[in-house]
Symmetry: C2
Subunit: 406 residues, 2 copies
């Protein structure tokens, strides 16, 4: 019997009716003679509703208590999904993170899975039960509940697939795979049959919201193949994410991330150690930074600009305020009305042609580029949020004959 | 520093505003220099809403999964209450049953607390934190979540008070104490200043919905004094429940339980072992039975009638169906439209006068009595549900000069 690991997102589980449909699908795979482990997200808007409740009692709740609150969302969906499966005459058991042995690092809100003790999961599989596990969460050394960040259920699924030696990790979502651009905005976007971890990592980090970036990193590390497909439409073959090597230069996709903010620390003394102090403190507070630019002025003062996730903006600003003495800056500026637009593909930066065409298209639209960042397989720019979708459309049209979807 | 253990019911925590008010009250007690442990129920209608979700995916969900679902209700309320306390500038930590070490027996839905490992609770109290604990639940030897039955948070509170050696267990509810009858129905009901465990046990078992019966049994066993008072009105002194001895005959209260059902097993053979088999099987399925009557007929067949909690009616009927061969009965009849009405007081059954007056009042109202049960300190009858409140009113009026409220 082979082990099938599936993950269903919140939109696939947003009502009792949808939960019953997913139960039907799961049972079909069970009938094929597989051992089934399902990772479930919270139902539909549950997480947002819980967050809303929290802010009504405390505008800045502690992360420890927020994780305690949010983890209930998945416990609700897993128990309902197990009941729906039992209703079809199959044995099932739901497990929360204490029960499924998902240990994480100490951080709250952005924890990482450190170990999975699969004893209980295997015990239930041996009893021929369909095991339903809470995604998005774990417990730390203090035996406190922790969450893995938005979209963390993908990471739970990949980690469980690795721990159980599954051949594949199946991710079911409301899109039937990975596209050359977000199909909600770009009608002509094309679906990839396969895509490499590295390319997907850039795409997911860059805001292609299908997959949680950490799940791809983890899959790459352990060479776990991920299949992304639709929970609603089982006619599409979806996209396989794996260690696929593409030798030739090829363009894979465009992505936009709206959930970012730009922070500028203006007028810091141009002396060694300042950038270190700044980014060390930011790291210590578990805030992720993406792009960094430093402008050297000629009056002995520098401006350091960087981007953070929009969710971290308040915390980053509070932190900078507390560092005003040690950093000795003139002022802090920040801007939430920015987006990051990226073009991704193997070898594209080695070929100047793509970068040149990219900037020409933006320039033809009179779109100003704020910050630029590159890697082997991507080129990203920060631009005005209000112009980001226009830019995405023009770029996708301009490059439409260059995308490689195998 | 003395330890204060408080329990707040779901109606006291039914909205973010109410949670903030309760947080204010808790912090006031903290300022007095106490170590505070709070047991919280689920917010308002949460438990019913979760039950409703469950029945939408499965009409008869397994108890294991139902407990997994229902326990989220308290985890939501404890985390919100901890956040509301943090908002007032006080350190707080919420603990679910895994974290607060509340071990229970293996049963689901009707579990009993077997042990409390207070290590974590004490650790948090030593850090000067206000500890908020999920009521109504625990975990069993399989490391599965279990619930203690409706109203089980009272039992959690008493058990925690005992485990922490608190002087007192404070129960906050929407009534400011124990009355001679339910004050929602009887305007002239009088509040008791003190009441004995035994009397309270009869009153709570008999449907005086203020307290969970098991909590009183537990408090009696360890001689833990319980103070019942209102979470809204702190001018009333409430009622103390304890080992108070009242030597003289005294009448304490009337109670009505609507949540019961009557089952008759008609025409079972009049031979040894039948009643044993019946009640052994019922016990094995963890269904509680209250009153039992057996009518001996003269054709060699008996009718056995008993009452169960309304919640257990379906399960009891299914069980009886499965026993039709071994019990060899003619038919099963059941009735949900019944209530149990009881009069409680020390020594009242030793004095025939009270029983005589009780039946005279019912007879004057032409109310038929279905079943009768007595103990040292109570007299209970089963009657038509539609007539139970009329009967309660007439009895409370008839006995109004006889109640002793110290």
């Amino acid at each position: 019997m082979s082990i099938v690991v599936q993950k269903y997102g919140g939109s696939s589980l947003s009502s009792p009716e949808k939960i019953k449909k997913i139960a039907d699908q799961i049972v079909l795979r069970k009938k094929d003679g597989n051992k089934i482990v399902v990772i479930a997200s919270a139902m539909g808007d549950t997480t947002n509703n819980l967050l809303n409740l929290a802010t009504q009692v405390n505008n800045t709740p502690s992360k420890r208590e927020l994780d305690m609150l949010l983890t209930t969302g998945e416990q609700i969906s897993v128990s309902l999904l197990a009941m729906a499966i039992e209703n079809l005459g199959f044995d099932s058991v739901s497990l929360n993170s204490f029960q499924s042995g998902i240990e994480t690092t100490g951080y709250y809100a952005k924890s990482k899975i450190s170990e999975i003790n699969t004893t209980r999961i295997n015990k239930e599989l041996d009893k021929n039960k369909i095991v339903i596990i809470t995604g998005f969460q774990g417990y730390n050394k203090e035996f406190d509940l922790t969450t893995l960040g938005r979209g963390g259920s993908d990471t739970t699924a990949v980690a469980i697939a690795i721990a159980l030696n599954a051949k594949l990790c199946e991710i079911y979502t409301d899109v039937d795979g990975i596209y050359t651009a977000d199909p909600r905005f770009i009608k002509n976007a094309k679906r990839h049959n396969t895509i490499s971890y590295d390319e997907m990592l850039e795409l997911s980090r860059l805001g292609a919201s299908v997959m949680h970036a950490r799940s791809i990193e983890l899959a790459r590390k352990y060479n776990m193949i991920i299949k992304v497909s639709s929970s609603l439409d089982n006619t599409s073959s979806g996209t396989m994410i794996g260690g696929f090597n593409v030798e030739k230069v090829c363009l894979r996709g465009l992505s936009v991330d709206h959930q970012i903010a730009k922070i500028s620390v203006i007028g810091v003394p141009d002396k060694p150690g300042i950038a270190h102090l700044l980014f060390y403190e930011i790291h210590k507070n578990n805030i992720s930074i993406d792009m960094i630019i430093q402008n050297v002025n000629y009056n002995g003062l520098n401006d350091i600009t960087f981007t953070v996730s929009e969710n971290d903006l308040n915390e980053a600003n509070l932190l900078l305020k507390s560092l005003s003495q040690s950093l000795n800056y003139k002022e802090i500026k920040w801007d939430k009305d920015v987006s990051k637009l990226s073009i991704v593909g193997t070898g594209i930066m080695g070929q100047g042609e793509i970068a040149a065409k990219f900037f020409k298209i933006l320039s033809d639209l009179s779109i100003n580029v704020d910050m630029i960042s590159t890697s082997d397989i991507k080129l990203s720019v920060i631009l005005d949020k209000s112009k980001s979708i226009d830019a995405l459309e023009a770029l996708h049209l301009g490059f439409s004959n260059d995308f490689y979807t195998d």
